[in-house]
């Protein structure tokens, strides 16, 4: 069991790094890079949403802070990649701490409102502080350079892959340690958590700070990936997309974050084209049909229960053909 898992993991890593070698279209590689960047952000978001159970709608704002820290340092001071990225992580983590302050006072839907406002304020600030951020004009960047030459799309993909693996290891270790257990505990029962000597106050702040750090990391990589950043990228739509990714992929799961990122990046592209949409709808219907028959044959569910999703997906598939 353990051996096969290791093998699977190795195959996954090889596939991850080999992907750009088989694809010649820069656009697809760019999509892959975007997925990797979103994965890093979703890892961080999962700490707040999945583990501590707080709904944060401010992560697009934090993502923007990371991107702009990078952009401003590059644009104004011309600092290299290996300085701007750590700086972006630190600055965003600081903003995450600011976001945590209201999170200590309010819970549930109210927290969602506060974080939403936080994200909006960040976006407006970026827009208005023209002396620093060039306002709505945005900032142009160059990809980091290696041996005096700007690296290409493919090399940058590998760089992001390394970043993603690094984030994966860090997140996994943090969540398996006493920190992760504290986060999980304060979701299930804050009062018991306090009475076990784990200060709810302190660990909520830690969770937001660590989560924001990853958002900043992702934002910095995103800035270099797009080579152009402007304030209206980091809007509330992006926040909802992130949240959808984490909930759809599955919370408290690294695989879920990866799956969620793939879905939120690829699904809009797939739905753009009618032929692709047909394929997606039919595949979905077939999958649901197979799943339902399997479930019915093993008698773990009833006909009534599987009927709604089955009819729904089949109807979608039929609809796509017209």
């Amino acid at each position: 069991m353990k051996y096969s898992k290791l093998l699977l993991f190795t195959v996954a890593i090889i596939a991850l790094f080999a992907f750009p070698l088989f694809v010649n279209n820069d656009y697809y590689i760019h999509l892959g890079t975007t997925i990797l960047i979103y994965v890093i952000l979703l890892f961080g978001l999962d700490i707040v949403v999945g583990y501590t159970g707080q709904v944060s709608l401010g992560h697009a704002g934090l993502f923007g802070v990371g991107a702009y820290t990078c952009g401003v340092l590059f644009f104004k001071l011309g600092l290299p990649f290996y300085v701007t990225v750590p700086a972006a992580i630190l600055v965003t983590a600081f903003f995450g701490g600011l976001l945590a302050l209201p999170a200590l006072k309010v819970i549930g839907p109210y927290l969602a409102m506060v974080t939403l406002a936080f994200g909006t304020i960040l976006q407006i600030l970026i827009n208005e502080m023209s002396f620093l951020t060039e306002g709505p004009m945005g900032i142009k960047l160059l990809k980091p350079s290696l041996l005096e030459a700007e690296i290409g799309e493919r090399q940058y993909y590998w760089l992001c892959a390394i970043g993603m693996l690094f984030a994966l290891v860090v997140i996994h270790r943090v969540l398996k340690s006493q920190l992760g257990r504290a986060f999980e505990a304060l979701r299930d029962s804050p009062i018991a958590c306090d009475c076990m000597g784990v200060s709810v106050y302190r660990y909520k702040v830690y969770a937001f700070v660590i989560s924001a750090g990853f958002a900043g990391f992702a934002g910095a990589l995103y800035a270099y990936s797009e080579k152009y950043i402007s304030p209206n990228t980091y809007n509330n739509e992006l926040t909802v997309l992130f949240l959808l990714g984490i909930i759809m992929g599955g919370r408290k799961s690294r695989l879920g974050a990866i799956l969620g990122a793939i879905i939120i990046v690829l699904l809009p592209k797939l739905l753009d084209d009618i032929n692709l949409f047909r394929m997606v709808a039919i595949t979905l219907a077939v999958l649901v049909a197979i799943g339902s028959t399997l479930a019915l044959s093993k008698k773990i569910t009833t006909v009534r229960k599987v009927l709604t999703p089955l009819v729904g997906t089949v109807a979608l598939a039929v609809f796509s053909l017209f």
Partner: protein, 309 residues
């Protein structure tokens, strides 16, 4: 789309497939039918209470007043708890027992009065500071961390034994590895102590009620407390479970840990307590050894609701 996901896939795609796979494979949890390990002697897992001046009382509750609006939940209550004893706190429903627990653990801040634990006031300190200073508690309505395994629940209680920082954790430096291994070993020991050793990897919310209560006690013990507050530990337990509970409580006392026991089962209280205080409408109406309490007219009146003479 987000609506569909929230409605149909509450655990997300990964969670959904995990559940689906388990259901298909008939992979139900059969941990529960495993034979129970007998409760082992706890002397090696429970750290002895710190010995200080053994004659001085461990806890002094001095004329505590707890007011919610116009309601006086606790009205000038004085209680002194002797070190190393089991002190019972009984009273009819709504008499302020659980309020007292919440005052002691810092969840409520009393309107007036003082609580001195080992000669230091705990009033105004946060719950987590109080628990780290040596007061551990269980809850009347079980407050376990439901999605975590039994072992992880205890590990949260052992949180105070960790000194590893973020860097230690991410790089798996020796300090973290050492602390993690020590904590896991001790957590398993504590589980064995309350007879849950074989259920270590079971999620807490799937445990039967009686086991959940035991797990709460084990988690509280992980704090290395000097004073343990048990809030109705026997509520909802079956007779064999209660018997097991009493053995565990006595063993904890033998380690020098002082216990305050809130309970409605009179036979439990009378059987195990050294001293008993009785509360009624926020006031202390009697205090003494179990035999005295049983004969006390005021207590009988409070419980049976007779007219005062």
């Amino acid at each position: 789309m987000i609506l569909l996901v929230v409605y149909y896939l509450q655990d997300g795609i990964v969670g959904f497939f995990r559940n689906f796979y388990q259901a298909l494979g008939g992979n139900t949890n059969n941990h529960l039918v495993q034979t129970e390990q007998t409760a082992v002697d706890g002397s090696e897992v429970i750290h002895k209470a710190r010995e200080t001046d053994s004659n001085a009382p461990i806890l002094n509750i001095e004329s505590i007043l707890m007011q919610f609006g116009g309601l006086k939940a606790l009205n000038n209550v004085d209680i002194t708890i002797k070190r190393g004893t089991i002190h019972g706190l009984i009273g009819p429903n709504g008499s302020g027992k659980s309020t007292m627990m919440n005052v002691l653990t810092g969840i409520y801040v009393p309107t007036a009065g003082d609580v001195k634990f080992e000669n230091q006031s705990v009033v105004g300190k946060t719950s987590s500071d109080i628990s780290l200073s040596g007061i551990a508690r269980t809850f009347q309505n079980v407050q376990l961390f439901g999605e975590m395994t039994a072992l992880e629940n205890i590990l949260v209680g052992l949180h105070h034994t960790f000194t590893a920082n973020f860097l230690d954790v991410t790089l798996h430096l020796p300090r973290f590895n050492r602390e993690e291994a020590a904590a896991r070993e001790r957590a398993q020991g504590l589980l064995n102590f309350v007879g849950l050793g074989s259920l270590a990897s079971e999620e807490a919310r799937n445990l039967p009620y009686g086991k959940q209560r035991m797990l709460e006690i084990a988690r509280a013990l992980a704090l290395d407390p000097n004073l343990l507050l048990l809030d109705e530990p026997a509520a909802g337990l079956t007779a064999p479970d209660i018997k097991e509970l009493l053995t565990v409580i006595r063993k904890i006392r033998d380690q020098g840990i002082t216990i305050i026991l809130i309970e409605h089962h009179i036979d439990v209280v009378m059987g195990v307590c050294d001293n008993i205080s009785v509360l009624d409408f926020g006031q202390k109406i009697a205090e003494g050894v179990p035999a005295e309490i049983q004969k006390n007219e005021k207590v009988i009146e409070a419980y049976l609701g007779g007219q005062s003479a």
